[in-house]
């Protein structure tokens, strides 16, 4: 039996909504099949008021063993470092986060806000928000770069806006069933099993990417979304086209450019006007190229690929 406590800081509840839609395994499976005991969750917890405060205090003191502390949302530090803008159970949430993180065997950050600050931490970051162990790309965050939970692992980051429900439940199962040692984390403490490949991996538009055929308007079924419509699929690490959303589709499959929401810089360019859904270029060349590709190579490849493009690559081949 693994005790899980889930709290929420500066957030929209999107990751909770995502988690409740999990299928493999489902949120119920966590309890019935994998022996997890959800001590409290913002949308599922029964305790209120003093009972909840007592539960939290017991987790901090060790009276109740806290196996996994899950945090969704940013750690809010405003105003003036006090955290008073996000009070919870009688005190600033940040104080609970610090003490519960120190008490837990494992700490798991769910979603962009908890991992690197996400949208609340976008400049000018009025809530003085931080992720648990990162602020955007900077290692440190609220808990500091040297933080390690009792298990010896740093915060396990499961980013996304929201995170895919199965990423969440599968990592919780791995940890709760004693297989945390099998988890390999990348430089941003994301489980490599989910975040080593690219969003583009498995995208149905890959042939258009290869032959440099661009989608120029939303709703087009042909064409790659990277060249003009700001898709970040080739530079973003996520399995969105391998582990499909709702078992059906993904953003790029349905014609929506990837926004790069599993990367620390999300939302990119601080949401400056004209930067969303538009590929940013410098003298006609994309500012951000597919990972590992340099500018000269990109230009050469584009010329060759366009010259070699078959006629079918320029057609809508998805017949209804």
């Amino acid at each position: 039996m693994a005790n899980i406590l889930w709290l929420q800081g500066g957030a929209c509840s999107g990751n909770t909504m995502s988690f409740l839609n999990a299928e493999e395994p489902s949120a119920c499976d966590l309890v019935t099949d994998f022996g997890m005991n959800i001590l409290w969750h913002p949308s599922l917890g029964m305790e209120l008021g003093e009972n909840l405060q007592q539960l939290l205090r017991d987790c901090v003191s060790g009276k109740i063993k806290l196996d996994i502390f899950v945090f969704e949302g940013t750690v809010v530090n405003a105003p003036n470092g006090t955290g008073e803008w996000n009070r919870f159970a009688g005190r600033p949430m940040k104080e609970w986060v610090r003490e519960l993180s120190d008490a837990a065997d494992f700490v798991v950050a769910i979603g962009d806000c908890a991992t690197w600050g996400g949208i609340p931490a976008t400049a000018p970051n009025p809530t003085d928000s931080q992720g648990l162990q990162f602020l955007k790309r900077d290692h440190g965050g609220f808990l500091g770069k040297d933080f390690k939970a009792k298990s010896g692992l740093p915060v396990i980051n499961i980013p996304g806006c929201p995170a895919h429900p199965d990423w969440v439940t599968q990592i919780l199962v791995a940890v709760a069933t004693g297989r945390a040692g099998d988890l390999s984390l990348d430089e941003f403490q994301r489980p490599k099993t989910f975040f080593q490949s690219f969003t583009q991996t498995g995208c149905t538009r890959n042939m258009h990417f290869a032959y440099k055929v661009s989608a120029t308007e939303f709703g087009q079924r042909k064409g790659c979304l990277f060249y003009d419509l700001g898709c970040r699929g080739p530079m973003t690490h996520s399995p969105c086209n391998r582990i499909l959303w709702n078992r059906v589709s993904s953003k790029t499959r349905s014609g929506m450019p990837c926004l790069g929401c599993t990367e620390p810089e999300f939302p990119f360019f601080d949401l400056a006007p004209g930067t969303v859904f538009k590929t940013q270029t410098v003298m006609g060349v994309p500012k951000d190229l597919p990972e590992g590709v340099n500018k000269k190579g990109y230009i050469k490849l584009t010329g060759a690929a366009k010259a070699a493009a078959p006629a079918w690559a320029e057609q809508d081949i998805f017949v209804v």
């Binding site: 004209g274 940013q280 270029t281 003298m283 994309p286 230009i299 010259a307």
Partner: protein, 117 residues
């Protein structure tokens, strides 16, 4: 019979060819186009595109002018040759620019200031 079928020109292709020839004629006739400033940053791109959006779809002369078309590739910085054939809006087999604000039959060696690779 088989040869006749494979060389047949579709109505769309014929229309493209006719318009392409008209556009070439305009450019060869000395039509002054806004080759510079190049649309190298977002603001300039948006400004050029906004002007194009105000044009009637068949206002070809002003499309050529505002987009800054040339009959030969533009030599950009870093020795990058900006030609329609490498542009992301160019459809190779139709020899056509699919930028929604242009939608023009072009030649691979032509160029305009909205080029992006």
């Amino acid at each position: 019979m088989e040869d006749q079928q494979t060389t047949a020109v579709s109505p769309e292709q014929a229309a493209d060819d006719e318009l392409r020839a008209r556009l070439r004629e305009m450019l060869e006739g000395g039509l002054q186009t806004e080759v510079e400033p190049r649309a190298y940053d977002h603001e300039t791109i948006q400004a050029v595109v906004a002007r194009l959006q105000r044009l009637a779809p068949d206002d070809y002369e002003n499309k050529l002018k505002i987009a800054g078309f040339t009959l030969e590739p533009w030599q950009g910085a870093d020795d990058i040759e900006q030609a329609c054939e490498t542009c992301m809006y160019y459809v190779v087999h139709r020899r056509f620019c699919e930028l929604p604000e242009l939608m023009l039959p072009v030649e691979p060696e032509w160029s305009c200031r909205l080029w992006r690779i």
